[in-house]
């Protein structure tokens, strides 16, 4: 589903990613571990081109999304991203956060179809073989209604339906992060990218967030997760990558890599964190 080819990223003179190659298949759960500053976040952010790679390519569903001529926004809609700092929109209610992107995208697609239809209609005046119009079987009200129902369904799923009209500033960290996760889910992503989703949480809230991620994993969601929670990586991941100094130093199944690390740097890192 995602193919990364010799990915490189430099910030000015400093090369942070030094040639990463990996293929992630549908349904895989890839955990990325490694010391601070090794480039884990940068790598994850290159997967949806939040950082533009300076070399190599990221192929998502057969499209080279690191090519500057593709409309990256279209592809990002199929890749959910969850941040360490939650990043809920402070000026929107909880349900507003979840509905914003689906509604905006639904409406702009509807508008685009309508405009195209106008041009086709005008063109058809001069055509012998009339071109068919785009089917429009939605209305703005319908798009909003569907997005709202979907948002409420997701909120029910995490038991926060009663918070629909609350603002993020009134929620706990765990609640914020779970809402950030379902906000990404509302776009029906094919893959979810998590960057240390529990690192900014108070210890008592880590569990609720990990539970939700675990549920998604069990449902078969493809995911890439940068984490310091080794226990969680071991339990949920199908594959673990150990990164150091901008490279994937070792990759293996969780059981192998935790029980039997081969690279000395992996050994050293694991001996510190386990």
């Amino acid at each position: 589903m995602i193919e990364v080819i010799d990915l490189r990223k430099s910030f000015g003179e400093i090369e942070v990613l030094k040639g990463i190659a990996i293929t992630i298949k549908a349904g895989e759960k890839v955990a990325i571990i490694g010391p601070s500053g090794s480039g884990k976040s940068t790598f994850l952010r290159c997967l949806n081109c939040m950082e533009d790679p300076t070399g190599g390519a990221v192929i998502f569903d057969g499209v080279n999304i690191s090519d500057m001529s593709v409309d990256i926004n279209v592809h990002r809609r199929r890749m959910g991203m969850v941040f360490q700092q939650f990043n809920l929109f402070n000026n929107k209610t909880v349900i507003g956060n979840i509905m914003l992107a689906p509604v905006h995208i639904g409406l702009s697609e509807l508008r685009r179809k309508k405009i195209k239809n106008i041009f086709i209609t005008i063109g058809n005046l001069f055509r012998r073989n009339k071109k068919p119009l785009y089917q429009i079987n939605s209305t703005p009200a319908k798009i909003r209604q569907e997005a709202r129902e979907n948002a409420l369904r997701l909120l029910r799923r995490i038991g926060l339906e009663d918070k629909a009209d609350a603002y993020p500033s009134t929620l706990s960290g765990g609640q914020k992060q779970r809402i950030a996760i379902i906000r990404a889910l509302a776009m029906n992503p094919k893959v979810m990218l998590f960057d240390e989703p529990t690192s900014a949480l108070d210890p008592e809230m880590v569990g609720e967030v990990l539970d939700l991620i675990r549920q998604l994993a069990d449902e078969g969601m493809t995911m890439v997760i940068v984490t310091h929670e080794m226990g969680f990586a071991r339990e949920v991941a199908t594959r673990v990558l150990f990164m150091d100094d901008g490279k994937i130093v070792e990759e293996n199944t969780p059981n192998e890599i935790f029980a039997n690390p081969k690279n000395p740097r992996t050994k050293e890192f694991l001996s510190k964190v386990l």
């Binding site: 990002r76 941040f83 990043n87 905006h104 995208i105 603002y167 009134t170 776009m187």
Partner: protein
């Protein structure tokens, strides 16, 4: 004190019996009108400039736009507003062959002028919004422009509302120069009363009082607004 009572009497005569109050009301209306519409224009222009200035500078176009904005801001912040009014009314309009009423010219010049100031305020506001807000929007597949307009700018505006209130007060005060191009405001009204009563002490005193009350009212409104915003931060 006897002299002062006499002066008040003279003032009242012109103010009340010779329709001076009508001029004062018109003047007050113009003052508020120029400041309100000027600020609205200023917020529009200022937001546009601020957004251009925080745009990543990759392309030639954004660089050129950025240069133009710098020039614009420098021009309007670097010259007194009286000069801008005079140049607009007596130089630019005739050169363009246009004939606009003085009041419209004032509104436009005050809008352009405050646009330059608001752009700096707004830029600070936009930069004070956490970068994560933009990233979250982009990660959801929203464009830079949409994220800016739906997420970042509304939060920036909220952060700078008090400062915008001060800009409004500044505009109210600066409108006192519009008579330079023949628009009528509070100054023209009280000057009329003074000239007709041959005494200026009371009219200008009353004028000063009106400005003070006006400014205090706005400051109060800003404070109430600020308090409500902070409340909504906590309890929503």
């Amino acid at each position: 004190m006897d002299g002062f009572a006499r002066k008040v009497e003279r003032f009242w005569e012109i103010f009340y019996q010779h329709d001076g109050y009508k001029k004062v009301v018109t003047g007050l209306q113009n003052t508020v009108y120029i400041a309100v519409v000027g600020l609205a224009l200023g917020i529009l222009i200022g937001t546009l400039i601020a957004v251009i200035k925080v745009l990543p500078k990759y392309s030639k176009l954004t660089k050129a736009l950025n240069g133009f904005c710098d020039f614009y801001v420098g021009l309007f912040r670097g010259t007194p507003i009286v000069v801008q009014l005079l140049v607009a009314y007596y130089v630019v309009l005739p050169l363009l062959g246009l004939n606009l009423p003085a009041l419209s010219v004032c509104v436009i010049v005050f809008g352009l002028n405050s646009g330059a100031y608001v752009s700096e305020i707004m830029r600070g506001g936009i930069m004070s919004v956490d970068i994560g807000q933009m990233e979250a929007g982009r990660a959801l597949g929203l464009s830079y422009r949409v994220t800016m307009m739906k997420i970042v700018v509304p939060q920036a505006v909220k952060n700078i509302l008090p400062t915008l209130g001060n800009e409004f007060i500044a505009l109210i005060k600066e409108t006192s120069v519009v008579s330079f191009v023949g628009a009528s405001d509070l100054y023209t009204a009280f000057n009329y009363i003074g000239s007709n009563s041959y005494e200026f002490m009371v009219p200008y005193l009353v004028m000063a009082l009106i400005y003070i009350v006006l400014v205090m009212l706005i400051a109060l409104m800003v404070k109430v607004m600020e308090r409500n915003l902070r409340k909504s931060d906590r309890s929503n």
